[in-house]
């Protein structure tokens, strides 16, 4: 299980995260919501090892992984689907997938590949095509598929709704929720689109100016009108 204690991150003089603590339990989706600039992506990038924290501890299954690089963090079972187009358009669909988890055994990789293809059948149909031929929604599926190829216990999903049609977002998020429930995957979902995120999540965490302001059952967070007004602006 991924555990975060008192995490602080700064970009030069700018404090992006202050004293953030959270856990990402298995078998469910934990949603982090907040306005633009709240520190959501910084949190994800720090957990994945792309950004070095200033203070605090990150632990995976009890092991301290604070300050580890992304290529080491991913080997502990944490896979990030970064914001935006995180596929490589110059490679084929299959190559994009096979890039994930190359350190794993052949059998593990084949099992993951089959699982990804059963989750996202369109990827199998298009596996020999260039990733640049995919639509936005298919590309997001491919990005998630690549992360799953790393055999994660914890999946970090950064803003999967970005630039996608609402219907596709709902489909993808429900699939992720189902996957978490059925396979025991721990999912940390970051979203600006709070309504959709809280619908699939069990726990909701609201981030504002780099601090956690509310943390609780997703349904409570979704129902709290005052909070929505204050931090999410709708």
């Amino acid at each position: 299980m991924l555990e975060v204690e008192n995490l602080s991150v700064s970009y030069g003089p700018v404090k992006a995260l202050s004293d953030v603590s959270l856990t990402v339990p298995p078998g469910r989706v934990t949603a982090v919501i907040g306005a633009n600039g709240a520190g959501k992506s910084t949190l994800m990038r720090t957990l994945a090892g792309l950004v070095k924290p200033e203070e605090g501890r990150i632990r995976m299954n009890g092991q301290d992984i604070t300050g580890w690089g992304p290529e080491e963090v991913v080997r502990t079972g944490i896979a990030l689907v970064p914001e935006g187009r995180s596929t490589i358009p110059d490679l084929t669909v299959l190559e994009n997938l096979r890039l994930g988890g190359m350190w794993r055994t052949g059998a593990q990789r084949t099992a993951s590949e089959n699982r990804v293809f059963s989750l996202f059948p369109i990827l199998e149909e298009r596996k020999h095509l260039g990733a640049d031929t995919l639509s936005g929604g298919e590309r997001q599926q491919l990005a998630i598929g690549r992360a799953l190829m790393c055999g994660p216990q914890t999946l970090l999903l950064d803003e999967p709704s970005l630039g996608l049609a609402p219907l596709i977002v709902t489909q993808i998020l429900h699939l992720v929720e189902k996957m978490a429930r059925e396979s025991g995957l721990a999912v940390l979902l970051v979203e600006q689109n709070a309504t959709t995120a809280l619908r699939v999540a069990r726990t909701g965490i609201v981030l504002n100016l780099g601090r956690i302001v509310i943390s609780g059952p997703a349904s409570d967070v979704a129902a709290d009108e005052q909070l929505r007004h204050a931090y999410l602006g709708y």
Binding site: P70, E71, V74, L99, M102
Partner: protein, 292 residues
């Protein structure tokens, strides 16, 4: 004055060595997005080491093997000592650094082996083949170089497109962040790119040396030709580098044959300028504008 056919055959032979050097340039570009102007310097330096091995052992083959190993080691050294530190600077900083490496290697070679040109032996007799009772300017050695080039291109293509290592290298070049998130040790892939390019450059050097003779500066002109071929081929494409390496060799041979050898570099630069003017992504480039 020879015939068109003579120039044509001579051009293909010249083109094969240009293609080999262009391949090395493409390999570094593909793995690190840096044009390595030091490539000919590395090839020259490792050819001197190879020649030393040939002189000691008397075996051309041992010279080649020693050269390839030395080429890999030198590529790694250049990567660690020069390219890794300057990577924090911008791309032009890295390119200028490769010029620095070129000058340093040439000076060092002149200090160790003097600036005097030396002959480099060939594994096959360097004499024109007789075709239909007529001696043509294509030697058995040229044919050998051509075959080595084909084998090397096939090997590299399979390595880059069919193996895990190749996929890791390509992904590291296209998108280092996604590669790292996928578990690829990107800094290691960059080093491997420099090592492989150094080895290919060493093969090119050992094959060019008998034709041009070996001194700290005799390979310089091949940098101009190979750079032209690699850029016209799109810098990303092994096939492009080979096709335009041979093409450049042909054109230069015809220019040399019908006018004067001193015009060849000018024509190469004109080709380069025309290409940059009309098709800046390279003739074989299948990518749209990429912002790396």
């Amino acid at each position: 004055m020879g015939s068109f056919l003579d120039y044509f055959l001579g051009g293909i032979a010249n083109g094969a060595v240009i293609a080999l050097m262009a391949l090395a340039l493409v390999l570094v570009w593909r793995s690190t997005r840096v044009v390595n102007f030091a490539q000919v310097g590395q090839a020259m330096f490792t050819s001197f080491i190879a020649l030393t091995a040939v002189n000691i052992t008397g075996s051309w083959l041992i010279g080649l093997i020693v050269g390839i190993i030395a080429g890999g080691i030198l590529g790694f050294i250049v990567h660690v000592l020069v390219m890794r530190p300057v990577r924090r600077a911008d791309a032009s900083g890295a390119i200028i650094a490769t010029f620095g490496v070129l000058i340093a290697l040439q000076s060092l070679a002149a200090m160790i082996w003097t600036a005097e040109p030396r002959a480099y032996p060939t594994p096959i007799e360097y004499a024109g083949l007789t075709i239909f009772g007529r001696v043509v300017p294509l030697t058995g050695y040229d044919v050998f170089v051509f075959i080595v080039m084909i084998v090397l291109v096939l090997f590299l293509t399979i390595l880059l497109t069919k193996t895990k290592l190749g996929l890791s290298m390509r992904a590291s070049a296209f998108n280092p962040e996604v590669a790292r998130l996928s578990g690829v040790r990107v800094s290691r892939m960059l080093a491997i790119g420099w090592i492989i390019a150094g080895m290919v450059g060493a093969v090119a050097g050992v094959l060019i040396a008998p034709i041009s003779s070996l001194s700290p500066n005799t390979f310089d002109i091949f940098l101009v030709f190979a750079f032209t071929a690699a850029v016209i081929g799109g810098l990303d494409s092994l096939v492009g580098a080979v096709a335009f390496g041979i093409g450049t060799g042909l054109i230069l041979s015809l220019v040399t044959g019908y006018s004067d050898a001193s015009n060849a570099p000018i024509v190469a630069l004109i080709l380069l300028a025309l290409n940059l003017w009309f098709k800046p992504d390279g003739a074989f480039s299948h990518h749209k504008a990429r912002s790396v």
